[in-house]
Symmetry: C3
Subunit: 266 residues, 3 copies
Amino acid sequence: MTASISETLPASLDGIRRRRPLVHNIANIVVANVVANALLALGASPAMVESAEEAPELARAADALVINLGTISSAVAAAARLASAAALAAGRPWVLDPVAVGVLGYRTRLAAELLADKPAVIRGNASEIAALGGEAGGGKGVDSTLDTEAAATAARRLADRTKSIVVVSGAIDRITDGKRMVAIANGHPVMARVTGSGCMSSALVGAFLAVSPDPFSAAAQAMLTMAVAGEMAARRSQGPGGWSTAFFDTLYNVEAAEILKLASVS
Amino acid sequence: MTASISETLPASLDGIRRRRPLVHNIANIVVANVVANALLALGASPAMVESAEEAPELARAADALVINLGTISSAVAAAARLASAAALAAGRPWVLDPVAVGVLGYRTRLAAELLADKPAVIRGNASEIAALGGEAGGGKGVDSTLDTEAAATAARRLADRTKSIVVVSGAIDRITDGKRMVAIANGHPVMARVTGSGCMSSALVGAFLAVSPDPFSAAAQAMLTMAVAGEMAARRSQGPGGWSTAFFDTLYNVEAAEILKLASVS
Amino acid sequence: MTASISETLPASLDGIRRRRPLVHNIANIVVANVVANALLALGASPAMVESAEEAPELARAADALVINLGTISSAVAAAARLASAAALAAGRPWVLDPVAVGVLGYRTRLAAELLADKPAVIRGNASEIAALGGEAGGGKGVDSTLDTEAAATAARRLADRTKSIVVVSGAIDRITDGKRMVAIANGHPVMARVTGSGCMSSALVGAFLAVSPDPFSAAAQAMLTMAVAGEMAARRSQGPGGWSTAFFDTLYNVEAAEILKLASVS
């Protein structure tokens, strides 16, 4: 699999920077700014539209859609349902980020419902993935209380059931299609002390999906890019404030060869 | 009182970093990102949920609740009413931040109504505190036009009437329970040139309330941490952009002893 | 025209810093934080209020209003209609930022409708200005696909028809009243890789309108300040993360003489 990422990442990163795919985000509004900046720094073209009046029109026009449940309300849920249906109908790949699913009843039911529109990729922390798979996973607020090891089984089961690629984020990120499993051991603990690290990961998955034919590979490339850029930024900073600045600069300047050199993938 | 903060601050700061209390914010959406980052940098676990569908459920589960009126609408007001009632019923401490109360009629009436749910702490600038107490205080948009000295009396009266701890922010921060009064002379003028300084203060009060039995002491500890960290960040920066970066790094790295060493409390 | 900006910019910048005009923003919520910070760094007093309950009251009280369609919904549209009508009735200058008009039907119709309330200034990219003028301009998501040269004609026509000052942003910014045309060749490509550069420009136009009697001159002064400060920040940074930090510091510290020294205006 390391070989596979080595082969595909340079072309995907170059593709994003040349073609500037339009990534439509129904965003967690708390982190919409940093998600847009991460996509722009990488080279993609973000649009954050979450009204029922406009979301389905944009979902059809965009190269990929990312639905994040972080700040869901009944109004945004209506837009999300229309957008995921529009993406499915138009054959556009989309990503589901089930923030805090398992903690709050409303969004847990909504996430289960959205699965019917066949997300290409689902990315969450261990508690969220376990909860989405119908398993008791714990979780406190938006932070996971479940070990990612323990979530690997839940991820495989969810991928099996939904036919989506499932990504479990944590100290080690895992990507699975139910059979294959990639583990990425990059990243840095400071990333858990900046809001939006997870949401930015999901958005990067959307950007890679837009230029990559294989969702399993796209998810792995995106998670590796996020984790290595985050690690590079952590080396150049002394806390979460400096990390943010360095992270956007890294995404903007980084070459595929640098990412692959630091990659810890198995 | 300086002695008292010296005794309590180390344990509270350590408590936040070890227990990572869940702080539920019905946030000013303009600054929700930096408020979440301030809580994460300090060591707490933020969750920003402001829909009527989910806010009361989270308010019951969280260790503290912070209601900020900065970007209130009828939809968010409905969530705020449910959340403050849920916090009161569940015995959870909560903070009211009455942004721009006294300037805009809708939120002025809402703030008066929310007082019935007995916030543990109310934090605002001088104009906001005076207006909430039913006194003419001036105020232009979200900025105070009233001297904090002049607001001390208004703060005492509001604390007397509501039995809440009242914090008046300004060049000098004042914390009162109607009888006792602590004044903190730390901070830096650049903090008034970054959006969210006040809102971050209120959120830090929430984090300290979650680990501290005494709301008067919790409010003083939080305001001192904010003011000293802000002052330390100002010394390492040349404007509001650099200040933000340095501020999050400072909150992340600062020790209680450093805060107490720089404290100017009376 | 260079002479004219040289004469007016020092007094306007000083006026903003001394009088701290209240600029009411019905903001693109994705970038509301950076827009507020840009206004604060410059010296103005921002307020972001976009509920129908409060927006008209604030629009009457503020020194200028900026309506940004970036994250419009039916609820925010209702507030925008009330606010633009209130500004017109109260004789307050206001700015229209037609983000992604021409791409999405709902906001394209809304923007056309808001023109009836006579914005003092309209600022958009080339595709947006062309679309608002009823011409096919292309555009992908929020990014322009039309050359700014090609948009100059569309800008002139729109200014002629609406009697508003029209600003077309791009590698070269153009400001026109339908007859006169100022071109500003400052700025830096990295500004297109940070979300909110355009929205911050519109907000700065609002701040300059609040202290300047002539909207044509105010728009030119604001766009020059944005472009030169952005260019100065780019020289001191290595990517979009560092640029943001340096940009707010530059707006906070810059003197009119520095801006005029670097100005490339024709």
